[in-house]
């Protein structure tokens, strides 16, 4: 048994699920006792299983399974996109062919054949009671990366879904919309997350506004100032 066979045949998961023959199990045990790096793979798989089981215990798994859209939702979303275009309400403020500056999932930034996008940083935007404070400084990574923005919405899950709007704040004071991400739902940790593509966004000050799509009555909009540098 070698690493390639272990990966190709999903030996770790099948071993933990007791799905290997005695001979296969013995061969795998012989391998991982000789190769400590494989023990880490086993440990990570155990954590994945435990994490899934925890979500199931908390009855959060079904919600996550259905978090995006139902099977029949794709035609509806296509129709909605066409209708949106007809009304001139673009989600992205650029050319129609331009890839997104921001998205509600990391994978959504990987459109147009892009293979990977490493995480360049994670930033939590926190409300403060005091007067407007200095913007949160976010260094743009040297390499194209995804930047994760997290917000703990005051309205919680009850006011979901949320819409995040990113506006550039140039020195002349005329705000310029850059991106808008709709349909955001807080995760199990209560945080709403969105990702920015560092390669498609300029340096400068921006406001990040998170508002309930159900209106101000559900939860007041929250605004944050960030500085990409």
């Amino acid at each position: 048994m070698d690493r390639k066979q272990i990966e190709d045949e999903h030996i770790v998961a099948r071993y933990l699920a007791d799905q290997l023959s005695p001979a296969e199990a013995e061969a795998f045990e012989a391998y991982y006792t000789q190769h400590p790096s494989m023990v880490r793979e086993i440990e990570y798989t155990l954590r994945l299983k435990e994490g899934l089981a925890t979500l199931r215990d908390r009855q959060q798994l079904d919600g996550l399974m259905k978090a995006r859209r139902w099977r029949w939702a794709l035609p509806l979303s296509i129709a909605a996109a066409i209708a949106g275009a007809a009304l001139g309400t673009w989600t992205w403020y650029g050319t129609s062919a331009a890839p997104p500056v921001a998205a509600g999932t990391l994978e959504a930034l990987l459109e147009n054949g892009q293979a990977t996008l490493p995480l360049g940083g994670k930033y939590m935007l926190v409300r403060v009671r005091s007067a407007p404070s200095a913007p949160l400084a976010i260094p743009l990574p040297a390499q194209p990366s995804a930047l994760e923005l997290q917000v703990l919405p005051a309205g919680g899950a009850a006011a979901a879904p949320y819409r995040l709007v990113l506006q550039q704040q140039p020195a002349d004071g005329k705000a310029k919309p850059v991106a808008e991400v709709a349909g955001l739902v807080p995760g199990p940790d209560g945080l709403v997350a969105a990702w920015l593509d560092s390669e498609r966004i300029e340096r400068g000050q921006y406001t990040v506004e998170l508002a309930s799509e159900r209106g101000e009555s559900a939860a007041p909009a929250e605004r944050f100032l960030i500085e990409l540098e």
């Binding site: 190709d8 991982y32 190769h35 023990v39 990570y44 798989t45 155990l46 435990e50 215990d57 996550l64």
Partner: protein
């Protein structure tokens, strides 16, 4: 003595045995057995100690799963595998909670509902890979792609949260708790 943080192993032992003390005993037995093998020269070098601990402990895990039919994998039986005493185990809850958060993020980032279903049915419900592929009309290549991407992303998420770097820091807790 440095051993790997085995909290995932311990959590699964606890889940299957439904008894935190028993799980700790089984893990301690695995560590003691491995140390005895090391002293007896049956383990070539200390770097292999982790593997032996996992080997012994996972055999305990397997034996318990086989003994307890309710722990056998399957979509119909797994929902019953709730740890009834979990509220009395704050340490495990914290760890499980952390991993639950990481896995929830992983699932949220998977844009395809089918991919999420693959992950859950393969790792949690432990469905046979071939049957799962047939059920979802997936080729082996598609299945592998889903799993490899998910695993790679999980590793990244765990390591970004320091679980990789802290692998060797928490062993004191494991030993004390065992």
């Amino acid at each position: 003595m440095l051993l790997r943080d085995m909290s995932g192993l311990k959590a699964q032992l606890t889940r299957v045995t439904r008894d935190a003390e028993l799980a700790a005993d089984l893990l301690q037995d695995a560590i003691v057995t491995a140390l005895q093998k090391l002293e007896a020269g049956e383990i070539e070098h200390r770097g292999q100690l982790d593997g032996y601990v996992y080997r012994v402990a996972l055999n305990h895990l397997r034996n318990h799963r086989r003994k307890d039919k309710s722990a056998v994998s399957g979509p119909d039986t797994l929902p019953d595998l709730v740890d009834a005493d979990s509220e009395n185990r704050p340490a495990r809850m914290v760890e499980g909670g952390r991993w639950g958060t990481v896995v929830a993020q992983l699932l949220k980032e998977m844009t395809s509902p089918r991919d999420r279903e693959v992950l859950i049915r393969f790792y949690l419900q432990e469905e046979d890979r071939s049957a799962l592929c047939r059920s979802l009309a997936l080729t082996d290549l598609q299945f592998n792609r889903v799993i490899f991407r998910a695993r790679g992303r999980l590793r990244e998420l765990l390591e970004r949260r320091g679980y990789g770097k802290s692998d060797f820091l928490a062993i004191g807790l494991v030993l004390l708790g065992a």
